[in-house]
Symmetry: C2
Subunit: 339 residues, 2 copies
Amino acid sequence: MNSRCVVALDAMGGDHGPGVVIPAALDALQSSPQLSLVLVGEESLLRGFFADGLPERLTIRHASEKVEMHESPSKALRSKKDSSMRVAIDLVKEGVADACVSAGNTGALMAIAKFVLKTIPGIDRPAIIATVPALKGHTHVLDLGANVDCTAEHLCQFAVMGYELVRSLEGKDNPSVGLLNIGEEEIKGNEQVKRAAKLIAESPINFVGYVEGNDLYTGNVDVVVTDGFVGNVALKTSEGLAKMILQIIRESFGRNVFTKLAGFLAMPALRAFRGRIDPRKYNGASLVGLRGIVVKSHGNADRIAFRHAIETAQREVEHAVLHRIGERVAEVFAAAESA
Amino acid sequence: MNSRCVVALDAMGGDHGPGVVIPAALDALQSSPQLSLVLVGEESLLRGFFADGLPERLTIRHASEKVEMHESPSKALRSKKDSSMRVAIDLVKEGVADACVSAGNTGALMAIAKFVLKTIPGIDRPAIIATVPALKGHTHVLDLGANVDCTAEHLCQFAVMGYELVRSLEGKDNPSVGLLNIGEEEIKGNEQVKRAAKLIAESPINFVGYVEGNDLYTGNVDVVVTDGFVGNVALKTSEGLAKMILQIIRESFGRNVFTKLAGFLAMPALRAFRGRIDPRKYNGASLVGLRGIVVKSHGNADRIAFRHAIETAQREVEHAVLHRIGERVAEVFAAAESA
């Protein structure tokens, strides 16, 4: 494991900007003596947070612009060359930082990261991979919105990258990979999914075949592969359902004085429950397939959530994920070409 | 409203067959004096449930075969012409029944229903529409697995059918219809979704534009339109997540004697919570776009859930949903052709 790790943070990104990024950065620095952080953004604004000077292992890198949350990716790419997002990615490209984290606009982050860092040989398109809690452990899902019209070849590349990412990060020898499909016989799957299944089955990863939507949460497989449209819908649907369920639980306990009292007594159990599905613990989706580590935080991440995103980036650096994915992809797709 | 209503039940379908269908049928008959039911299946077996003779408004129609849960739809269609599923659909075709309900194999049900009943003029493919609970009211979602490779025209047909179904069933003047998409700027939507949005916007329904996965549960729109692959994944993902959450709640209250006591005290609140998201209340997905009413029950529906599916069929008959969808589709697509 690499002992030192430098992560560049897009301090202006997300709904809350430096108000969340800086406290999260301080928390991360405190818990990890190996970590150094670079805050990227409007320098005078950022300095204002540190009346007593910068703490150890924290530096500031000025960037004069900011990518807005609803700005078009191509506009952000073309016209904001000094945005905090762009500069954070540039630092990775230049080797100043080992990884970067941004809570900014996903489309812009993907476009800029792809332009600046380029994809690794053998990969046509980067993908976004995130982790969700499952009954047993958790599940890694990709792609989550970077690619809406995927070919079978793209899905196969995602499968290989997801496999190696989980293998490196979690120290699992041979994580299982499933391809998301629907369960009806014969009307099963669209053409590109069927073709992808054949391709993945021929690759040297532990492919367990088709899985269904519920398998995101069973923990039966380590990695679920799907295209960005379906993946994004599955995740957003989950967010909507979880929010509704938590709201209904609140309402159920708020109905009258008895249920309120019960809710008070049930607090430790409800807290344990919330702790297990707390999305903040799972914050930090990785853009894989690039020649650099880029982690996307949820736009409205709070201090705890953003800190998890920083830790995700740090873990990927320490486990040499980039190098290992590159090697695996080269091996699989070189083998496929010579076959 | 039509006062009398005859519903044919595939008594052999689903995981439990007549053991669930018959008790559910008796419950439905008891609560609705307008309803008559025809149990379709192996006559001697079904008679065995009625030692004292058949109750009023219940008849048995013999069918010698049964479509298995994992049988291929084309095989079921070709070779099982006397299956309980087929005969129940035949009864609708012949006008003996106003609707039919089956908990059997979805693919086979769709294939047989399409073959026997045919689609209504203007509709290329039938769709499956179901209802999910939302923070405000509930949401209707289609398609849920009948069509995996949809064109923009298909999605537009689904939108029009969903609109009219909800309009007829719920007495809403102008229900809102959204098209499921992902929220990233520029990388937003695949080509067919973008084309579908244009087509739907030109149709005379209340189209509110794109919605995202979480809107299945916000209640912000009445109808969410998507292709069968995405719809099926969204629903299965929701099932998986809800199951995980309920399991974690159980575990959280089971941790120790204090949380167990709290769980006991919290029972009324937890019951109210479960009541609001009870999937049994939402059982009964409709196959729309056919010249007959066909309702699909979940395969492992219990007595309460199957009864809800019967009631769904009955409501569609009473609200003349078939006729109204036919009229609406004729109006919209005739107008489109003459435009």
